[in-house]
């Protein structure tokens, strides 16, 4: 009994972490060792791959552009979704329920559908190959998601709090910033996390809408693999560095995500 109690979770975590361990393992090996045969840990431990990534602008610019469009997108998504979600949660207007559902259906279309129109449009207005291009394109699926999540959190706040604030003399903007936003702070955190995550992992639009200057890290990774042979150690190190931002963000919002799930909105 004692054994099975530990056995199942241990096996589960082992299998879950094995690919990540292997990635970390590879990142500290030389390419020759990776290709040379099976070794469960690095025989010739080297940090050369990491040094290469952090010193070569081709590599670290990929990270910088990825992080910049992800941050821009998160800020835009949350700040536009806040008033929209407030309207959906507090007011009744013509077609509000249909509009709310329609927002969600935006997530059902594959991003590839929009790659061509975005490419053409951004080329025409000079946004092509900038972090803004990717950030705006990602709003397509992140704003609906953000509205959906935030609406759930806002509807959990009684309307009487709004009214009490108005009676106390608060103007709408002041109430929203001083009273309302602190109340749904965890919701904003969860929303920001999801926007961050979806924007961070999305590759197709990010690759299509950039060429050189704003090339995201995921695109850099694939190109390196094709042009200068198999630099597997380097790729593994890049992979590890790509996981880290997501891991950091998820650490901060881990408690709130459970709340989001409880509201049925995540």
């Amino acid at each position: 009994m004692r054994l099975t109690k530990w056995l199942v979770p241990t096996l589960y975590i082992t299998f879950l972490l094995l690919p990540i361990y292997w990635l970390v393992n590879m990142s500290f090996k030389t390419t020759n060792e990776i290709l040379g045969g099976f070794s469960p840990w690095p025989k010739n431990f080297t940090t050369a791959s990491y040094v290469e990534i952090l010193t070569n602008p081709v590599w670290y610019n990929g990270y910088i552009s990825s992080i910049s469009y992800v941050l821009i997108n998160t800020v835009i998504s949350v700040s536009f979704a806040l008033p929209a979600a407030y309207a959906f949660s507090r007011y009744r207007f013509l077609g509000d329920k249909h509009l709310f559902f329609w927002l969600l259906t935006n997530r059902m279309a594959p991003p590839a559908v929009f790659a061509l129109p975005f490419y053409q449009l951004y080329s025409a207005i000079g946004l092509f190959d900038t972090p803004w291009a990717v950030a705006l394109a990602h709003c397509l699926f992140n704003i609906p998601l953000a509205v959906w999540i935030l609406e759930g959190f806002m509807s959990g706040v009684p309307k009487e709090i709004d009214e009490t604030a108005y009676i106390d003399g608060y103007s709408f903007p002041r109430f929203f910033v001083k009273i309302f936003m602190p109340l749904i702070a965890s919701g904003i955190g969860v929303t920001a996390f999801f926007c961050f995550m979806f924007s961070w992992v999305e590759l197709l639009l990010a690759k299509t809408l950039t060429s050189v200057a704003a090339k995201p890290i995921a695109a850099v990774m694939t190109r390196t693999a094709s042009t200068s042979g198999y630099e597997l150690g380097l790729l593994a190190a890049a992979g590890v560095l790509t996981i880290i931002p997501g891991a950091i963000v998820i650490y901060f919002v881990r408690n709130y995500i459970a709340k989001g799930f409880a509201l049925g909105r995540v």
Partner: protein, 360 residues
């Protein structure tokens, strides 16, 4: 002075308030009494300015404030639910209307301290509302309404969600706390006993209409119509439909009741009789008490009193008797109606005052 002139409110085709006209004097205590969904909250929201009436106008101190947003009015409101700002400390919660109004720091300090003192919140000022008990949360909301020194204070069933002891305590303190400010004080409740304890004036509400407005005790003693009398009765008013023929009230099922001498002057015809549970008893309380045979259906014992539910001619009556009475279900008992306080209503529900009947 707050005046509601022929105010109506319709929400998506549903009339919530219809043709309400009320005048509240400065410094007065007013109770809105009515069952759930009678329109108490709707009416308060109109008074506060949270909603705009569909028809009619609202006047404050001789000025039409119908379309004035709530921020620009001198109003304070407390809800039945405990509504505070969870992200702020109790001190900041109480101070919030003053902070918005830009009141000097020293004045805020003084008023908050004073309010916290009156409402026994001083030890909790540094905590947040969600760490407090329900009673303390509601006292925080009350303190916030108090420091604002608004000219109109609206309390929407503020004590309904509190336990019995706290309710008693706060009910006694509330009018005292707000009386000093000279504000118009409006208090909504579903409980007739609460209205009587508060005193002042009462507006009885039913289905969005004010059925009667006047001094509380007058509404209780001399309701203008059947609906008001029913609104103002807890446990419910005992009623029975009768047909007056000469000196008899005829009931369905061939029963007869002797018409008391006091009521002999009224014309023959159909009437509804109403009387309070404590005017029904096992022993006659007056010489002209009317005796009826009824069947016991339930007995509730509260401690010093018993509520005996009786079935009489297809009607459920409630008797309030002192002491503990154990009666078997279905047992036949003899009950006496004290006709001195019996209310008589005509077919349209209007009360026939005995004085008028005698004059006729």
């Amino acid at each position: 002075m707050l005046e509601l002139r022929d105010v109506s409110k319709t929400t998506s085709g549903q009339p919530h308030i219809s043709h309400v006209s009320l005048t509240f004097a400065p410094g007065s205590l007013n109770v809105l009494l009515g069952p759930t969904l009678a329109g108490k909250t709707s009416l308060m929201r109109l008074m506060a300015g949270l909603d705009r009436p569909t028809e009619g106008s609202i006047w404050m101190e001789g000025q039409d404030v119908t379309g004035v947003p709530v921020q620009k009015r001198s109003v304070a409101m407390v809800y039945q639910q405990f509504i505070n700002y969870p992200a702020m400390t109790v001190y900041e919660n109480i101070a919030s209307p003053l902070r918005v109004a830009g009141v000097a720091k020293a004045v805020i300090e003084e008023r908050v301290t004073h309010a916290a003192d009156l409402l026994h919140l001083t030890p909790h000022l540094r905590r947040t509302p969600l760490e407090l008990s329900g009673g303390q949360q509601q006292r925080t909301a009350l303190a916030r309404a108090m420091v604002k020194e608004a000219r109109l204070v609206l309390l929407d069933e503020p004590l309904a969600n509190l336990d019995y002891k706290l309710r008693e305590e706060l009910r006694a303190e509330l009018p005292r706390i707000f009386a000093a400010s000279g504000a118009i004080f409006v208090y909504a409740t579903t409980e007739p006993s609460e209205a009587l304890l508060l005193g002042g004036h009462t507006a009885a509400l039913s289905e969005g209409r004010v059925t009667q407005f006047g001094p509380t005790i007058e509404l209780f003693r001399e309701p203008a119509d059947l609906i008001t009398a029913q609104t103002f009765a807890d446990p419910p008013l005992n009623i029975v439909a009768v047909d007056k023929r000469g000196s008899n009230f005829q009931l369905d099922g061939g029963l007869n009741l002797q018409v008391p001498a006091r009521l002999s002057g009224i014309a023959d015809g159909a009437y509804t009789l109403g009387f309070q549970p404590h005017h029904l008893s096992f022993q006659p309380r007056a010489s002209d008490a009317v005796a009826v045979e009824a069947r016991v259906s339930v007995t509730e014992i509260t401690g010093s009193e018993s509520f005996v539910h009786l079935d009489f001619a297809g009607r459920r009556w409630v008797m309030l008797e002192e002491g503990i009475h154990r009666l078997d279900v279905g047992e036949s008992v003899r009950a006496f109606i004290d006709t001195r306080h019996m209310l008589v209503f005509d077919t349209s529900g209007r009360r026939i005052s005995t004085a008028a009947a005698l004059a006729a």
